[in-house]
């Protein structure tokens, strides 16, 4: 099986892709400028849908001001699920920008965005990838045949083919913990408390308040996936930031 990897020494042309497009910029600044509650939430359609569903909508907010790029979350996730080397359910992207002495470095923790309209679910031919009522997008390993279409369908590179189990795998918001009343592993691990997790439909939850009151961005919003991982202070990444 081909194990082609996208190596660091890729031509600059591919590195360019990591920048946000002008359309993203406008969309994001539009979100920030609008400021109002409605503007900062996912599209009205999705929100309306969310309200239709009984119960909660789990979401995560990540405060990039607090994130120090320590990778406690990356390793905690690896550890929780004994994820093999070479693949990640959650990781941190590091970008440097600026010119000496005004150089900056920024960190973008990444994980499955648990979209409301997940492209992975869309393409799954067996129905193994599904979306719970509470928003968690998960893989039923019994049903997964390993066609890998979901892996390429994900615009965020959040999924991978498990090297030994040969099925699709990704972050599932630690549903085995959440269902038993404990926060996801990465949320617990973050020493800076940069990850906030909870029920977006509960107006009293921390995540709901943050998403309502702060300017938030999601990744590649123009794709219509309606991701539910919200980044705070991502504007610092706009010049050389991460899209996928």
């Amino acid at each position: 099986m081909g194990k082609t990897k996208v190596k660091e020494g890729m031509p600059d042309v591919a590195q360019e892709r990591k920048g946000l497009s002008r359309r993203d910029l406008l969309k994001m600044s539009g979100v920030a400028v609008a400021g109002a509650v409605a503007a900062t939430l996912p599209t009205k359609d999705a929100f309306a849908n969310a309200k239709h569903l009984t119960g909660r909508r789990l979401a995560m907010a990540i405060d990039l001001d607090k994130c120090t790029g320590c990778h406690a979350c990356s390793v905690s996730c690896k550890s929780e699920f004994d994820v093999p080397l070479g693949v990640w359910r959650s990781w941190v992207k590091v970008e440097e920008k600026g010119t000496y002495p005004n150089t900056g470095r920024f960190f973008l923790p990444r994980l499955c965005n648990h979209c409301d309209d997940p492209p992975c679910k869309k393409v799954c031919p067996t129905g193994a990838t599904g979306r719970r009522d509470d928003g968690i997008v998960k893989v039923d390993e019994k049903k997964c045949v390993g066609c890998k279409l979901c892996i390429v369908a994900c615009p965020y590179d959040a999924r991978f083919s498990h090297p030994t189990k040969k099925v699709a795998n990704k972050c599932d918001f630690c549903r085995h913990r959440v269902d038993k009343g404990v926060v996801p592993s990465c949320v617990n691990a973050c020493p800076a408390n940069a990850r906030i997790f909870g029920d977006l439909n509960d107006p009293d939850s921390d995540v709901s308040k943050l998403v309502s009151r702060k300017a938030i961005q999601t990744l590649r919003p123009e794709l219509g996936t309606e991701p539910h991982v919200f980044y705070i202070s991502a504007e610092k990444l706009l010049e050389g930031g991460e899209r996928r």
């Binding site: 359609d45 569903l53 990778h71 550890s79 600026g98 000496y100 002495p101 470095r105 404990v182 691990a189």
Partner: protein
Amino acid sequence: MTKLTRRNFIKLSAASAAVVTGAKDIFGKPVLSGVLKLKEAGKDYSPVTGKERKIIPSACWQCVARDAIICYVEDGKLVKIEGNPEAIRNKGKICAKGQAGINQVYDPDRILYPMKRVGKRGEGNWKRISWDEALDELTARMKKLRDDGHPEKFMFHYGRMKGSDDKIIKSNFLPAFGTKTIGNHTSICEGAKWTAQELTWGKHYDVNDMPNTNMILNFGSNILEAHTSHIQIAQRTIEAINGRGVKLVTFDVRLSNTAAKSTEWIPIKPGTDGAVALAMANVVMEEGLYDEDFINTWTNVTVVQLKDHLIRYTPEWAEGISGVPASKIRSLAIEYANAKPGTIVSYRGAVAHYNGVDTERAIKTLDAILGYIDVKGGTCHAVGAKWKYPKTKGKQKKLKIDNGLKGDAAYPTHHINHRVFKAIKDGKNGRPDIYMFYCYEPVYANGEVQENIDIMKDEKLLPYIVSINPFYTESSALADLILPDVTYLERWSWDDMVSYEHIPEFYIRQPVVKPPGEVRQFQDVVCDLAKRLGLKMDFDSAEDFVRKSCKKTKIDFKHMQEHGVWHDPKAKPKYGSYAKVLSQKDYIADGVIFDEKTGVYWNWTKSKAKAKEEAAATGYTDTKNAYKGYVGQRIGDKVCAGFKPDKINKSGKFEIYSGFLKKKGFNPLPSYVPVPEHQKMKEGEMILTTYKVGVQIHSRSQNCKWLTEIYHDNPALINPVTAKKKGIKDGDKIKVKSIVGEIITNARVTEGVHPEVIAISHHLGHWEYGEFASGKKASSGHRCEPDCHNKWWTEKGVHPNWIIPNAPDPVAGQLRFMDTVVSVDKA
């Protein structure tokens, strides 16, 4: 009406399907209803079976911060490590390294049995032997030394050893055996910082009170990726800068993650932090922003003396030296003075230099003249747990080699371990017959790696080498006998790291899994050795020692087993304990005399003086170990606790003027001493600096696959302007050459480094230490696991220590890690 696009259609059908099926997810599992209440910590479940995972509290050992952890065990296998939520120090958090501790336990290259060398040293051929064979051999050699009346020829050299692990060895076994030929590692760490503090305010470890401070200056510390109290200080710093908007200004030669998150990163020329600190102090004095009361009451200088001394250190002068703009120095000084209070963090970036001691003294002086010492929100004395534990007395002799060669340093209060090998080579003060090293890398962690290897290979210099190590490292590869140690997750100890809550926290380390193979905790082996040698110690195992310590300290052992941590619920943080007024019964007591010259009350019986008259005549300052008897300091008409001295007979005052430095020909007031090599640099030469990253610790975490997966290459960081001048492009092979030697490594052109600096992390460049660290399987045995095949990186880095001289700073003997002048050219 929304147009029925294909997307909507799918969404609606999904939504309606969900509505139809009711409050269940699409797999039919019920969705929790009601308000979502999630516990932050303290429980974990198997993602496969859903079974609750068993918790065993313990303490981390991946770095010196030694935070409290909880370990999750599933069917006897350690599966997850999290911070102990009951700990007041690290508040339930640990870093990436701490969580990767699991990798230490299941390292496929772990040594499982005692190993004896076959063939020549360094050939890598080993024979597995039994513990009895190993200890018989070792005991015989050790017994012979004792019988011959030369126990000091048994040298014990440790790197990381703290808490009860340390006390069992240094306060029991070694005294019982009779040797004080002990090596540590502090001189490659921050020896200069500690000596500077001992010359100035007393016992080392400064704790920056982040939760209450209003401004933070940072000279050369990478708080968010390293620091001796990493998680404790990092989480509190983030809370301060993020939650309260506290300004953090970082002076660093490169853009560390800390510099990246700081309000401002100020690049600075290596070794010039002292100049900036002194200039800032000058501005403070000039602008009249100083705390006159503190200076007059608690320091041993006057305002006039300070002004006279500091006047020459103008911001403009400092700009010429350091490259930091004068206006910035001036404005920062004023801002910092008005912070009331502020605190300064300083670490190896500032002190691992020729002038490290002066730099640290200058920095502490800056805090002192502003009255930020030991106040809420300022720079405070450290508070750690004070355990009571069994001790064994014994007459100890020592080979005078722990301070390197004669004249290496004036006050090596933490010894000069990186020059022990040179002293051994020199031989004037003797050579150990048995060289035993524990959690230490004499080859890899010091400079001049080639010389370290050559000395270790020479059986004339080191006849018998014993390595206590769970892993097959570069140094263990050159030993004669390897005794397999447990990892920290399989051992018993108590620990006592400083607390940023200013309330001591007692905590223990206990085995969370059964050790594999025949590995034994070294402290248990020591008890075994003691029995074989006929030495009497009051405990028979590490666990016994911990139990007895708990009993002596009046802490419930069972509570420790279940919770891992304990602190006195009635304890409150104390600031300004130096100002505590002592009552007469404290300083009018048996053995306590008053030293007129310094104003110190001290108990001469605790010093090396033989009689009261002798003590009084020689005086406090000049009596050996007088500091051990320090009681209090006369301040005006009162006697106060003062700034308790350590290692040096400092008075109880905050000694900005150091008579000790004057005695050895150094400037008694903190001054700027330029690094000599930097004054003689040729055109194009650069300064080599080393650095840490958040996911690795020195030389002993690269076998952790989850960490090395993230960081497995240490290219040399070089500024684009400098690179262009030298015709170097990103990824090019370059030759970095110093007076010691040269290395060929890859260049990483980055805007995040000072143009005169080339920065190479010292974590990487292993050639042993197992599959993940170096790609080389251990000669002591390798047990493949699935992830060995998933290892996707081939890089292992190039170690900079090959070309770093083992040069000591003249005051403390600190290894000048950040001073090396190198030539850098395209290879």
